[in-house]
């Protein structure tokens, strides 16, 4: 019996890859050590409101007099946690639904219909409606992001599973009497993994940006500091752009979000080329269906 053997090239990191990995690690470090690194508790009012950076407050303070550096460090936690959790859950869902729409028996039609409906609706309003109705909260946010994050790739997985099922080695496995679950595990899942990894990385990026967008629109969890929430308070401050306040208030979280998304794009692209050298040969192409932008 032939097993699917992925043709892999040696992983050759570029300079950009190292920088991207470094940026991600730095953000993860900031998130993990926020309690130690932050000079003040994030919520404490510790200075004069809207003060420019000084020795005591490296990034100044916001309109409540909270230390912006401490807020920024703590904000990394929520942004990264939401992004990675939602991406993990929705990637798992994509894989499962994609497989089940091919081999799922009587559930196939239902799952396909749900996928189609979710694909047809614009993401932002439904997310707004969901979070507004469930009430702001990190779990609700993750649930909403998961719900909308899986359908596009479920379609990709479905196509891949359907073509793989036609392969001779699957036929052979069936002929020797392998049960369905084993066929899925040994013949289908290895083929799916590269696609799912790529989707995971792209979805982390999408989820982090979406969390920031929702928070900026006022749908974040007001009890949890995130980069999006800092941006929300900054953009609500009427004097943000009349002085230099934006440069120490809104710019650090916005730049951090941009850095993270850029880093994830670079790593995602490298990963895709590594897993699928054909993409390199065929000219650089846009990675899969874009889950980003709605």
């Amino acid at each position: 019996m032939t097993r699917p053997t992925a043709v892999r090239h040696r992983f050759r990191p570029r300079a950009a890859t190292w920088i991207a990995a470094g940026a991600l690690l730095a953000a993860a470090g900031a998130a993990a050590l926020a309690g130690v690194l932050a000079p003040y508790p994030p919520r404490a009012v510790v200075g004069t409101p809207a003060a420019p950076p000084s020795a005591a407050h490296r990034l100044g303070t916001n309109d409540l007099g909270q230390d912006l550096l401490s807020l920024w460090l703590h904000g990394a936690r929520v942004s990264l946690a939401v992004g990675f959790t939602a991406a993990f859950l929705s990637t798992t869902a994509s894989g499962l639904v994609g497989i089940l729409t091919v081999v799922g028996g009587k559930y196939r039609a239902v799952l396909l219909a749900v996928t189609d409906v979710l694909l047809a609706i614009p993401h932002l309003p439904v997310m707004v409606l969901l979070v507004a109705l469930l009430g702001p909260g990190l779990l609700h946010l993750v649930a909403a992001l998961t719900l909308l994050g899986w359908p596009a790739y479920a379609r990709v997985v479905r196509t891949l599973v359907a073509t793989t099922m036609e392969q001779d080695y699957v036929e052979a496995a069936r002929a020797v009497g392998a049960p369905g679950a084993r066929i899925v595990r040994t013949c289908i899942v290895p083929v799916l993994l590269p696609v799912l990894w790529t989707k995971f990385l792209l979805t982390v990026r999408w989820a982090i940006l979406m969390e920031a967008t929702l928070a900026l629109l006022g749908l974040g969890d007001p009890r949890q500091v995130s980069w999006g929430l800092i941006l929300h308070t900054a953009f609500t401050y009427p004097l943000l752009f009349t002085g230099p306040a934006w440069s120490w208030w809104a710019a650090p979280p916005a730049l951090a979000l941009a850095g993270i998304t850029l880093a994830l794009s670079v790593i995602g692209r490298d990963f895709e080329l590594w897993m699928n050298p054909a993409a390199q040969a065929a000219g650089r192409q846009e990675p899969g269906p874009r889950v980003v932008n709605s």
């Binding site: 409906v117 047809a120 609706i121 614009p122 507004a132 469930l134 702001p136 006022g218 953009f235 752009f241």
Partner: protein, 330 residues
Amino acid sequence: MAAAPGRWPPGRYAGVMAALVLLNFFLPRLLPGSPLAGTGGEGVAFLPARTAAELRRTYGLDRPMGQQLAQYLAGLARGDLGRSLVSHRPVTTLIAERLPWTVFLVGLAVIVAAVVGGALGTLAAWYPRRALVRLIDPLVVGLGTLPEFLVAMGLIVLLGTGWQLFPASGAVTPFLPRQGPGGLAAWVLDVLHHAALPGATLVAALVPAFFLLSRNALAATVGAPYLLVARGKGLDERRVLWHAWRNALPSVAALLGLRLGYAVTGAALVERIFAYPGMGLLLFEAVGQRDYPVMQGVFLTASAAALAMVAALDTVAARLDPRLRRGAAR
């Protein structure tokens, strides 16, 4: 979702639309939040039990679910989306006020992005070895990766408050008269002036998709025999390019349509940052005030627009791509 959407049988559109209408009805009724419970159900708005019951009766929330659904559907058939809980104006009126601004802003941005992205993609596919051309890819893709709020902030700081070339908020100067000699022209210029910064932010976010799509579609045709034939016939390079573009057109048109379809709320963030009075800002304001009927109205309009655009695309795609007309699809 850059690829052309799969061609759906007509019944499917009706099915999806019905599902959306039902979703719009049931979501707020089945989820825990309620306008009566205050934000997040924490009882910010303390209402005496009698007042709450009265409010329930006024809005018909005490009736059986089936009756509520029938009433909702009847209202929908009459074009009635309910009234705002805050301003008490009909939701359809609110949407009618905002929709034109969004359609104008996003429509303009999508078309500009398609032209710019298409032109850059053509350059990149046709002259892949020129040094300047090779800079396009990292620049465009890098710019497109930046979050919209960062681009918006940069534009505001540089062009809005820095050099003060463009207004950083609103859609038109308040109280600008539209009548009188030259009034209309001045008004149009003012509107375009206000659209510059939010439009540029949207264009920056939209260009990469058009760039990558048109470049990849054209690059695939570069070595194609039919182009060799075209050149062999002695066509000039511009005609040859058109021959190549003819093949790329369906997919680029599909992307254009998809982006237009999602336009109704796709610009919420940009509209909020630039205080542009479109659908996105309406949604944002409704969220802040927990104005459920408005949120639902926006949701329904946005979904219907997206769905209508997918349906329109199927028709257009068949016109642009003769291969789809011969029943080859599916």
